[in-house]
Amino acid sequence: MVMKSVVTAEAVWEALADIPDPEIPVISLVDLGVVKDVSVDGDRVRIAFTPTFMGCPALEVMKRELERAVEAIGGRPEVDVVMDDSWSTDRITPAGREKLREAGFAPPTPRAAGPTTLVQLQSKAFRCPYCSSTETRLENIFGPTPCRSVRYCDACRQPFEQFKTI
């Protein structure tokens, strides 16, 4: 394969598309929606990276992986961490949602107009990723990582992890 001397934005996006999430490797960082923007100037590549949950220990790893992927295609990376309100679980791509579901994680529900309520969490609006039943109930608002809750499916009698909507 011949290396191109100039890095293009398309090449960068392509390189980033293969980086798995460090904690849930079935989904890529691009599918997760944390790459907000890519801009290229010669071999300088700037990536705007929006962290997910702020206390997530995977964030440093994500940042490093983004840098490595850019270096691998001959770019000089600059990753800007954007700590604003722009990332929400609505940024996870449809393909990413499907990959999560296949791996047994219920993808986040779309954000509603108002903040999530206890009544919503305790309702049957959440679908089991294994059997697709909505006969599920909230076991714990919190789970193994900050991004997940734990629910239980009464139809297939299986506990499962539900991504929080934020």
Partner: protein, 216 residues
């Protein structure tokens, strides 16, 4: 009343979140049941994540770094509110009372910051709020379960003046309205006491004992 500088405001917030995160983490492994081990540990992790982002913004204003602000100050330099300093393990009733009061006060403070003209501050407040929603739901769930219990009611009575001290005076009437109690004399932010000194000692021990030039 003198205006806070942005760095002062950020340090108050960051210190509150760091110290509450520390106190919440004291339940890890000893909460009444496993789900609550998970919940309080997760909440602690979120709060410390918020503290980090707040310290990072403050550090830019002050020309230092987040770790230096979090761990290199002397105990008397911290600005955290007395409510978050209290060591409440193993008292679940007081823990739930503080959780409800702090999260309610914090929601008012964050909503206020989201309206700030300072886009960095408003953006960060918006990001923090996304996670705090779940802390409030957890607190609400426990209030539904235990709010009528005498021990929890007594703990809310005891901690109410502390809760008011989390907020700047102009925001306190909103807290009084949401909690449904009259404003009383608040326990204000002052130089932290002995209970905090002990926490500080434990919290900064690793950093203080690290060899010069160690990278984290």
């Amino acid at each position: 009343m003198p205006e806070h500088s942005r760095a002062e405001l950020l340090l108050e917030l960051a210190d509150d979140e760091l110290i509450l995160g520390w106190r919440d983490s004291e339940w890890t492994g000893i909460a009444p049941f496993l789900e609550e081990d998970v919940a309080f540990s997760s909440i602690a992790q979120n709060e410390i994540g918020h503290a980090r982002a707040l310290y990072e913004l403050a550090a830019r204003d002050l020309g230092t770094d987040a770790d230096a602000l979090a761990f290199d100050r002397a105990p008397e330099e911290y600005r955290c509110s007395p409510l978050v300093q209290l060591r409440l393990v193993p008292d679940w009733a007081r823990t739930i009372a503080r959780h409800v009061l702090y999260e309610t006060a914090d929601a008012i403070r964050i909503a206020h910051l989201k309206e700030s003209d300072d886009v960095e501050l408003a953006g960060l407040a918006g990001k923090i709020e996304r996670e705090e929603v779940y802390h409030r739901l957890h607190a609400e769930m426990w209030l539904e379960r235990l709010g009528a219990e005498e021990r929890v009611r007594g703990a809310v009575d005891e901690l109410w003046p502390y809760a008011l001290g989390v907020l700047d005076p102009p925001l306190r009437p909103r807290l009084a309205e949401r909690i449904g109690r009259p404003e009383v004399e608040a326990v204000e932010r002052t130089a932290p006491g002995a209970e905090f000194a002990e926490l500080w000692d434990e919290m900064t021990m690793v950093r203080r004992s690290a060899p010069v030039g160690a990278q984290w």
